[in-house]
Amino acid sequence: MSSVDVVDIPVGPQHPALKEPINITCFVEGEHVIGARVRVGYNHRGIEKAGENQSYIQNLYIAERICGICGVVHAFSLAQATEDIIGKEIPRRADYIRTIALELNRIHSHLLWLGVAAHEIGFDTLFMYVWRDRELVMDVIEDIMGNRVTYAIVTIGGVRRDIPPEKAERLLRVMDVLEEKMKKYRQMCIEEKTLRMRADGVGILRKEDAIALCAVGPTTRASGVPFDVRADDPHAAYDEIPFNVVTYDTCDVTARILVRVDEILESINIIKEAIKKMPEGPIRVRLPRVVQPGEGVGRTEAPRGEVIHYVKSNGTDRPFRWKVRAPTLANMLSVPVMLTSRGDYVVHIADVPITFASIDPCISCTDRAVRFIDVSKGKSWVWTFSQIKRIYWRR
């Protein structure tokens, strides 16, 4: 292997796994990736600076648009941080409705990812099935929140829409249907050879690396670290709803697939439990538009991992400082580790897309293709993920 030249291969910035701009430079020796460097920032929108010039309520809607998939977690975290500063409890029913919104969000996001992952490894049948069933969730989200993508249900002091009994009934019916289907897909993920052959032993992130690099969400749970903000730092109604923190310890892409599939089943149970336990009462309290000086930290478990917002107020209706950290940025440090061959662990160029996709990257949240560098020839070229797929699928 050492006799072969090392090449730089840039993948990106356009059209990586999830059609968002990012650049990964892979250093390759022949077919083997021996190192990688990630460059984010192609999507930086300056939302934190913009937020300092908008009122808290306006920021809530900007926050929801930080991510097109898991927007509700950002609105929730900002609302939580602001409520902490004001120091008022919100109605219990609102907590339950927020929990249902967060969990529906998780289900649709994990289903979306499962489809993308299946597509990345060339298993398009699973991709089609999963995305078809994701529509069930999207429809029920539209039914409850009024929108498919930006729910706009969380507000400072509670939620903006109630879940009436007939809608709760419809939601439960969909959850029953989905549970059946998910059990089938779980079986498929465990038994299907095409999937296991592409995912087993690929994208290894050892437990100690996951801890040291502060990885979050399914990425760290697939490395055997039981870090879940819902369990550790119970917010909304998670303190009253029992659920399992799913962990796997094979540390590879298979583990990340199974963590997410199992989490969907957990989420279905959480939603069922939440509807059963949801108390009657008001859904919001009116809180002052002008927030007293202070600071607050809001965080929740997004589908991709821990989201944390820091808000510092100065007694006006606008935040003095609003800091957002989306989960993908926390997982970005782990990507070069997963893409580095060492000892018996060998990374092939063909595994780059699925390895990168396995952290469920969301570039618009983080900010922000892959460059390959042949080290000995000093040659460098750019491939998009779709090119890699085209080249390697043909073989």
């Binding site: 984010v40 920032g41 930086h44 300056g46 934190e48 600076k49 913009a50 010039n53 902490d84 801890i211 040291a212 690099l213 502060c214 990885a215 870090f227 903000v229 369990a231 550790d232 730092d233 119970p234 600071e295 607050g296 930290v297 965080r299 821990e306 944390i308 820091y310 510092k312 003095f320 400082r321 800091k323 950290r325 940025l329 926390a330 970005m332 440090l333 900010d367 922000r368």
Partner: protein
Amino acid sequence: MTLEEEVVERLKAKFGDRILEAKVQRARRIFVTVDRSTYKEVVKFLKDEIGVTHVSTMSGVDTLERFEVIPHFSYKGIVISVRSIIPRDDPVIDTISDVIPGALFYEKEIHEMFGIDIKGHPDLSHLELPDDWPEGLYPLRKDVKLEDLFKLTKEER
């Protein structure tokens, strides 16, 4: 005694007056204020003695009188925010990435957004801003107005 109070007590017992302020805001939220000279020792103490391994993020704040760098650590569900105070005319702080490697990207972000020099950081290249971003323009500083940034976009592109 709750776990939050215990962490605060242990910090106070170890550092005494050098902890300028330590309060438990509510369950699972701790805010500690230190000077930048004590900052790294506190982080080391949190890691070695208390067992903190996870830094959730680092916030920078420009209050116009001073800079603040606030790493938010996560420990058994508690968010420990350690505010370190940096004078505005000498924006330098020690890196904590050698104690907790997960802080590497967050320190880069603080460097490019606030112009705070991170002493001992291995690579302070841009994280989110473009490579051709004008030197010496730190967008999240309070004296940089939105209009200045808008102008930049129009002129440059």
